[in-house]
Assembly symmetry: C2
Homo-oligomer: 207 residues x 2
């Protein structure tokens, strides 16, 4: 397997897409799949798929294709989905609620360890099985329980100071739903930004 | 300018990223930018950027770089952001609320013409300046006002029948936040899926 730094972001994004498609196939009872079929489902070419999976040693056999279960397992290992990552949700407004209630964190191998908000009406309520705590408890919580990921669903204006505090407290990465730019010297861990607008602009192009 | 079909999805995604970065630069008072600087900001190579923009004829001048305002305008035209697209938000639960209250539709050139839900407690309330209407009004609304885009923020189980109904009523594209698969023969317009899990898995890889 190559060094992680050698793999482009585009390949990692496609691995995540393969993973999702393969889970859907598994749920439909599909046991093995050719690169040709996987290519059709994903709107890619078969050679692109073979090339991507070869980055990591390749897992297919000529004339057989890929064993769906094996490939799911191998991609999960590559993407660290088997590491038992934990997350805190910072901001339990509408977006935080939507994620806590409806997003399948477990499918990405992540367990939500806590959620935090400033609103006294929310504190103490349970959303998606997680109790909302006061924002003042966030820093000691992170120091004690060492969650890996902070999901930033708080108002944009608070994103930078809260992210800096969490970095100091030992968080390992940010899943950033705010439009705040966290590419700062004080933010020393990976940030994955969710940019809704890029997705809408892509649709606009295709209309 | 090449035929739209000739441009890969990856290039369109990057154009949307260029657009966002350039707007941020403009807001910081930057008037022109070299492909080298744009590359650094975006984590790409300068030659990648020149190649992408050359797909559409290129807009830079050697030794000067790109005029930020011009490039914003040209990308907006390519992405159809200047077409005055309108949208309806279908489902005004937590996610619909979050988008109506916080997402900058205007930045993507889109105006929200209406929002719809089944919950009697929500119908008639105003969220982000948009009145929530009963779901029963959706079909006649689409037939009368001809919005371009349906934002699907309703429960997953309702996504397919509602999308089929909207296709019949004349909608031109779907921005799909549900995890429902809309790649069906009955869905005859473009679908842009928002897959949160792929983004979280990418972060997991980088931890």
């Amino acid at each position: 397997m190559p060094n992680k730094k050698d793999v482009s972001t585009a390949v990692v994004h496609r691995l995540a897409r393969y993973y999702r498609c393969l889970l859907d196939m598994k749920n439909r009872g599909v046991g093995r799949v050719s690169s040709k079929i996987l290519a059709e489902v994903m709107g890619l070419t078969a050679s692109q798929i073979r090339q991507d999976l070869n980055c990591f040693g390749g897992f297919g056999q000529q004339g057989y294709g890929y064993n769906v279960d094996n490939l799911i397992h191998e991609i999960a290992v590559i993407l660290n989905l088997d590491k038992g990552h934990t997350a805190v949700v910072v901001g339990a407004g509408n977006l935080g609620h939507a994620l806590l209630n409806n997003f399948n964190f477990a499918r990405a191998g992540v367990r939500v360890a806590g959620a935090f908000d400033t609103d006294p009406k929310l504190i103490g309520t349970v959303v998606g099985g997680v109790t909302i705590r006061a924002i003042g408890e966030l820093e000691p919580f992170v120091q004690s329980y060492r969650p890996d990921i902070a999901v930033l669903t708080l108002p944009r204006i608070h994103a930078v100071p809260v992210a800096e505090l969490l970095c100091q407290a030992g968080i390992r990465g940010f899943w950033n739903f705010t439009s705040a730019d966290l590419s700062l010297p004080s933010i020393t861990v990976p940030v994955e930004n969710v940019h809704f607008s890029e997705s809408l602009m892509t649709l606009s192009y295709r209309l």
